[in-house]
Symmetry: C2
């Protein structure tokens, strides 16, 4: 259903040139990073204030127009596709850092601030925002998908680092959740409810984030292992030993090959761990030595330490470029990306089973992972339009998810549900899906907020 | 309204002697730790399984009987009072540690396990559960009130340490929330929603908790300060310096006097900080030295180190006994206990303003606090039945809450809302109260779950 003319008129009156129905603008906001596709939205809005978001949603609510929030468009599960048509609300013009309260280690920002922009702004304060999903995503989008990434093992996820929100509800009501205090027991944890709600309950228009002190000393390294099992077992042993890793990332041989081809590195084309330590010079030295001893027990060799900031930046740029590097292994391919997370003791078996399944399929599917959390990904490369490959990739992804659920894990550690993981939600949540549906119906009774996402059979 | 006869018959048939309407049992479950009072409940049930809780709630739901969860009865805001009559569901017979998965640093327990019982069970594993509100509370109750306490500055609150729950909803439906993975982005954070919901959305029947490694080295000390301002400013400076405190507790002169009288200690009767460091021998030594230097800058003197486990236990037993020790300052008194939490930079002003207000009132009101989180309490001693004192104490409490809200803090850092903080909820949450009410109505449409608590004007 296209947007009714009175709604279009009201939006144009409100936003002027910041409301568009042009094919170019719609197409730009109909893209997805992965194999998920949908027709473009009917229109795009670029509000610049909470008040404009509120009025935009009030108009959409009155006319039954679906509303889809948009940040940098880097989500991997089609979260921002306009599967039911409607209006994409692009929040990237709301990109101001509103206040940095260094003495409280907090920042208040608009949702269109990206994590790199925030950290640039924070550089002189001695503080930083640690959550790092790789892409230079908008912090509003990261909150909406409960993102995490390479540093969650040390600093937690968006759940742990968002203190308070301003949210515009479906009917345009503006609420504030949370406080600036370190903790609160005053009522339901609405901040936690909106973080990870994927735009299905409201649009985030302001975030108060917890900042962390820039570590005095940082050391990063990459280290090779003879076998995948040994690399992953080293991770489990490291976490169980309590070494406070800032990062501990797994890269399989296929991904190492992708880095070599794409980034010009010279890794041996087998499994690796990429690690980082944060602390004082003494603790970093101590932690790195303990890790080195453990890694040697599992056959780890060829430690390559990145000692300068430039070398470290290059190392993590390589890791952050993994998605594009792996895509380049098969020119023209798109990807089905998996994202299971399992309890630490089940990680070696989960990775081994996934590797065996991928190998049996004949697909190219490099694996990387934030393995310190028990979270790993395979990026299954398929050609667009090849139904057989798509079915094979989806079968692998589903089996990985089922194995994760069988050991108490989750179908998505950090990417979120979007359209991709929707069919697996009942298997994970059982009767609790009814509670999620009741909350959705209570807060968005007409179902305009990002319909077709997250909850099965809702819209 | 008393419990209808058919409901009583059904509950008696289900639970036998574990359902009681005796005056003695009702009176035991009509108590409160503080000045809040209400008539006793109409009946008490002691289920021993999730299935019994489910059937109990289904009966209550069918007959419109209010249901109030009960743990150790140590909450401070009248959370478990039967203000609307009905059935108290005492969960203390569900007290089994179901599974300890040491390799994943997790335990699954029933809600009636107390924190001390769990830590006794964990002793041989090298792990412990850190959240420590002082009272030997049940972990189900601690989750329901989003409790924290002395160690939250290092290990977080119940929000951070509950991974998954089993919950029985108002109509008897049993759901599971969360996973055993370290993180998940699969749908709304229902675990976070039920933690801190104070029994208003369901009854928690199982918890999966995050455990932590027992620190290799522990050092505790108490240290005096010339003035309250200097003690509190030392806390702010300590937190801002990034020293990883395991505990940093404030005790004012009145509370020190209470300890001396009640516990036979010999503290100078002025402000103190009680601190603890966890880590390796090297890091503990380093942290303690850095703190010692900072404390000296603020006039801290007379460091008394508790070096043996017995001395440390005595130190924290003293702190944990603060509530009873302070009550004993005025024999026969009851207490209005405040619980604000403010951003760290506002802590010195908040404590100073509270102290001035208490002094002006003429009431005895010792102050203690988990000041590393910006959270502090005054325990305002009043005689039961003295309306003038009650009004004065409530006035102080309300002004403390208003000052906390004015700087972005919260009316309750860890005690929860119960009946006591209910009148302040609108001031804290504004329009977000409507979202809480919508969630409550969606999950408990007949309003049987702990009516009269948390949300204003709901029941």
């Amino acid at each position: 259903m296209p947007i009714p003319a009175p709604a279009q008129d009201a939006l144009a009156a409100l936003l002027g040139a910041r409301f568009s129905t042009s094919v170019a603008d719609r197409d730009l906001h109909g893209q997805s990073e992965t194999f998920h596709t949908a027709p473009p939205p009917d229109a795009v809005a670029w509000p610049v204030s909470t008040d404009e978001v509120s009025k935009t949603l009030a108009i959409c609510h009155a006319h039954g127009v679906p509303v889809i929030g948009w940040g940098t468009g880097t989500s991997l599960e089609g979260h921002a596709l306009a599967t039911h048509g409607g209006l994409v609300v692009d929040l990237m013009k709301m990109d101001r850092v509103l206040e940095v309260r260094a003495e409280d280690m907090q920042a208040s920002i608009q949702p269109g601030v990206t994590r790199e922009a925030l950290n640039t702004e924070l550089r002189a304060t001695g503080l930083f925002f640690p959550v790092d999903p790789g892409a230079n995503a908008s912090l509003g989008g990261m909150a909406a998908t409960r993102a995490s990434g390479t540093t969650a093992v040390r600093y937690g996820t968006m759940r742990d680092n968002v203190l308070a929100l301003e949210v515009v509800l479906a009917d345009g009501t503006v609420i504030r959740t949370g406080t600036r205090a370190a903790k609160s027991s005053a009522g339901y944890d609405l901040t936690g409810l909106f973080v990870g709600s994927e735009g299905t309950l409201g649009i985030i228009t302001e975030l108060t984030l917890r900042l962390h002190g820039q570590p005095e000393e940082v050391a990063s390294a990459v280290c090779g292992f003879p076998t995948l099992d040994q690399a992953v077992e080293c991770v489990t042993a490291t976490i169980q030993s309590g070494i406070p890793m800032a990062r501990i990332e797994f890269v399989d041989g296929e991904a190492a090959r992708a880095f070599n081809q794409y980034a010009g590195t010279h890794l041996h084309e087998g499994p690796h761990l990429m690690v980082e330590f944060h602390g004082s010079p003494a603790t970093v030295k101590d932690d790195a030595e303990r890790f080195g001893e453990l890694a040697a027990d599992f056959g780890g060799t060829g430690f390559d330490w990145a000692t300068t900031p430039e070398d470290r930046a290059a190392l993590w740029r390589m890791r952050h470029g993994a998605y594009r590097a792996c895509l380049a292994l098969r020119p023209g391919a798109t990807a089905v990306v998996t994202d299971v997370c399992v309890p630490m003791s089940h990680l070696p078996a989960a990775v081994a089973a996934a590797a065996a399944d991928i190998k049996a399929s004949g697909l190219v599917g490099p694996m990387v992972g934030h393995v310190g959390d028990g979270n790993f990904h395979s990026q299954l490369l398929i050609m667009p339009g090849n139904a057989e490959e798509l079915a094979a990739a989806k079968g692998i992804a589903t089996r990985m998810a089922e194995r994760a659920l069988a050991v108490g894990g989750t179908i998505t550690g950090e990417h979120g549900v979007g359209v991709g993981k929707r069919p697996l939600m009942r298997a994970q949540h059982g009767a609790a899906i009814g509670v999620m549906a009741a909350i959705k119906a209570a807060l968005d009774p007409t179902g305009i907020m990002n319909p077709g996402k997250m909850l099965p059979d809702m819209n």
